[in-house]
Point group: C3
Chain length 346, copies 3
Amino acid sequence: MKFSAQQIAEVLKGKVDGDPEAEVSTLSKIEEGRPGSISFLANKAYTQYIYETEASIVVVNEDFIPEKAVKPTMIRVKNAYSAFTMLLEMYQQAKAVQPKVSDKASVATTAQIGKNVFIGDFVAIGENTVIGDNCRIYANTSIGNNCNIGSESTFFAGVKIYDESVIGNRCTFHAGVVVGSDGFGFAPQEDKSYKKIPQIGNVVVEDDVEIGANTTIDCATMGSTLIKKGVKLDNLIQIAHNVEIGENTVVAAQTGISGSTKIGKNCIIAGQVGIIGHLKIPDNTTITAQSGVTKSFKNPGMIIGGSPAFNHSDFQKSSVHFKRLNELVNRINELERKLKNQNITE
Amino acid sequence: MKFSAQQIAEVLKGKVDGDPEAEVSTLSKIEEGRPGSISFLANKAYTQYIYETEASIVVVNEDFIPEKAVKPTMIRVKNAYSAFTMLLEMYQQAKAVQPKVSDKASVATTAQIGKNVFIGDFVAIGENTVIGDNCRIYANTSIGNNCNIGSESTFFAGVKIYDESVIGNRCTFHAGVVVGSDGFGFAPQEDKSYKKIPQIGNVVVEDDVEIGANTTIDCATMGSTLIKKGVKLDNLIQIAHNVEIGENTVVAAQTGISGSTKIGKNCIIAGQVGIIGHLKIPDNTTITAQSGVTKSFKNPGMIIGGSPAFNHSDFQKSSVHFKRLNELVNRINELERKLKNQNITE
Amino acid sequence: MKFSAQQIAEVLKGKVDGDPEAEVSTLSKIEEGRPGSISFLANKAYTQYIYETEASIVVVNEDFIPEKAVKPTMIRVKNAYSAFTMLLEMYQQAKAVQPKVSDKASVATTAQIGKNVFIGDFVAIGENTVIGDNCRIYANTSIGNNCNIGSESTFFAGVKIYDESVIGNRCTFHAGVVVGSDGFGFAPQEDKSYKKIPQIGNVVVEDDVEIGANTTIDCATMGSTLIKKGVKLDNLIQIAHNVEIGENTVVAAQTGISGSTKIGKNCIIAGQVGIIGHLKIPDNTTITAQSGVTKSFKNPGMIIGGSPAFNHSDFQKSSVHFKRLNELVNRINELERKLKNQNITE
């Protein structure tokens, strides 16, 4: 689909400054703009790019005054950033799949499928599972028995949901996500082998949760592993059995949270963090990348770092000294030498 | 399925103390007990919860004497913990899928499928592959050619097994596990490109191995990558080509073991550990979380930590000092100052 | 398939020294050689094994003079290493699947499939997607709409490719790879929830790229996440949105690269490395295992290590001192004691 500057200006309630027939089919960043794309300029720090960009159209604030010739057609609007975000959302909606249940899917006769649902090829949906309205379930996804999926949720290709899982509304699970695998629980036996502890709980994911590709969430031993409303998990994260993650907490890629740990709300957990089991992390905590959290913290709002993790600003100071540890040792050697010489000379 | 206190007491050979008609359909921890669930009290530290729990039934030791009113029906048995474990196992067995080969699976004509096997929708099983009795293979799993799978093994949804893999009896592979992908072997060329070294070996997994969701195990360059009897691997673990893991070793989530490293038996390897290639880790070694193991260790039974890893109790001491490195530097500054002043005053 | 020493010698243009009827069906390392396998001896350090190996045939350099009796049949050739590599490649080619499109696959009517392609069971290929000649796409793989896949590329089982992805020639993606999942981009709102930033870009993978099992590559917010020619990625790696990786860079397992970071060409990045967003890593950089890279580096060819990462040889020195930090603190204590005593005695 191609759109002209004139058509887009009408949608954005803006004014065309340049060729109204300039056409675009995609969106781009101004510094990477290519012919046939529309870009935007909102941040003054990027102004230089409008004189260089190859984008065909650029959305600008209405008061923008160029200092040189501008090649692309400009569309002048009140707020270039908001206008461009609107275009982004329209673009994404235009790409959304149309509702349809593939005749190559396998839906159990006892499953209940809502209205306007897309179910792709080779999707397997188990007994008594309920899928809400407007869900989109892509190819090769498998949903077990007795699951309950809210409305407007999207599962991309190859998601695997175990039996008894409960998923909220407007959730997005990316390709390869696993929800409900057994917790890692084994009782050591006298002969040094391990006996499996049955994991009969489930996973509950509340509304508006996004889960990144190939992330895994284990079911609870008993009860529920709980991912609360608005949580955002990146790719390749491990969430162990009986973990709870509070509302609107975000977790970056490759972080692992061990069994029964409770994370508060509005936390920011960076990438490759490890958190051991049975801890409590208070609300508004920030944990920096690659930290290893080995104890609970009490005060909300801390920034912690390091492995084992402590106050982040102290960690930064220690890290600076760690770099120069060799120099420090030389200084101690020198002190010892001087003191020894002193004693000899005395 | 619902069961009454009376029915459960008969199974457990216990005595009902309270309403014999109280009904439950699931199990719970006493501190999280909800109506319709059965819980247990074995550890005295949890006694307070029996006065608060909303569980409908609680299994208790026969000599338990409540100090206040107990709302749930109690079932008195000799050993509350064992009795509850028995219920857990019965619960899990009751949920097991019934044997059936889906007509939406694709089983090669030369494959041999044992008795009482469950094969789910969209499962692909290759040429000459043998599947033992009582296996359960869930939807969207793919098993290559010439594989040999023992009996009573379970592959959850979306497991991928490459050609020539050998899997033992009573193994459990969780959703998204990959077994047999190529080892990461490339020979640098003069033009700075890399040429792939063919990876023609396989993976051998012995009996009673459990592998967590989205864990990957590469095939050997030649010969076999070997996971021995009773090994338990958590989620998102990477096992490289030609690795060997000894009997009853457990490995927690997101750990990576590099090519040709041999891990002994009865080891405990925590989460997010990295072990470089071509090492030997002796029996009974414990490696703490996020360690980076860069050399072989000789003595069995060590606990090692840190990155690079060394004796764990030394690592703990060093970590304590690391936290206070800034203070330490201040002390050195002060020493230098004093010594300088001394010299001046002398 | 079995081959005799005589047959193999003819292929390798070598001479049989021993039983020309000795038969083999696979290849092995000389130190692990088992009956029915062919091995090789090129490196003198391994000479001892030729007197012990159970391999049935060993390829040796033509000038090899045994010092003891050799049990296996030898095939003497000009260059034993090259000859064996040739056998490895022939072995692997002999195992390659034959072209065929499964009648259990789902190929959109608007997709274009090249010549001599293998498409396995339960593969889903979307609208307008182009698959080049000689590609091999294994079971349960899902390829979205408007993708372009070059020729001679292989996708193992359960690969998931999102819409609009562009993949080059001779690429190999292992089982469970995800290409094109949304970048992790959310704008914080006043009520502490997050609003998703639409991710409308794609992923471009150039020629000769290998990607390991369960690795994930996010699409760009706008524009393309770019994996250049000859890059090799190991298993369970995370590549975030708008990342660029230069030609012939290799990355080991479980490494994560955050959004918009640009990695140069010919870099070597070890396992479990984390690199934060918006950095530039120059050509020929080596990053050691478990490093945490928090800033850009300017000079090409550096070796960096540690978390936060700095010059690797400095990191090694600091690590040695870190191990002995307790001893160092004792020395400072002692210095302080001595100086204090001095002052008292003075």
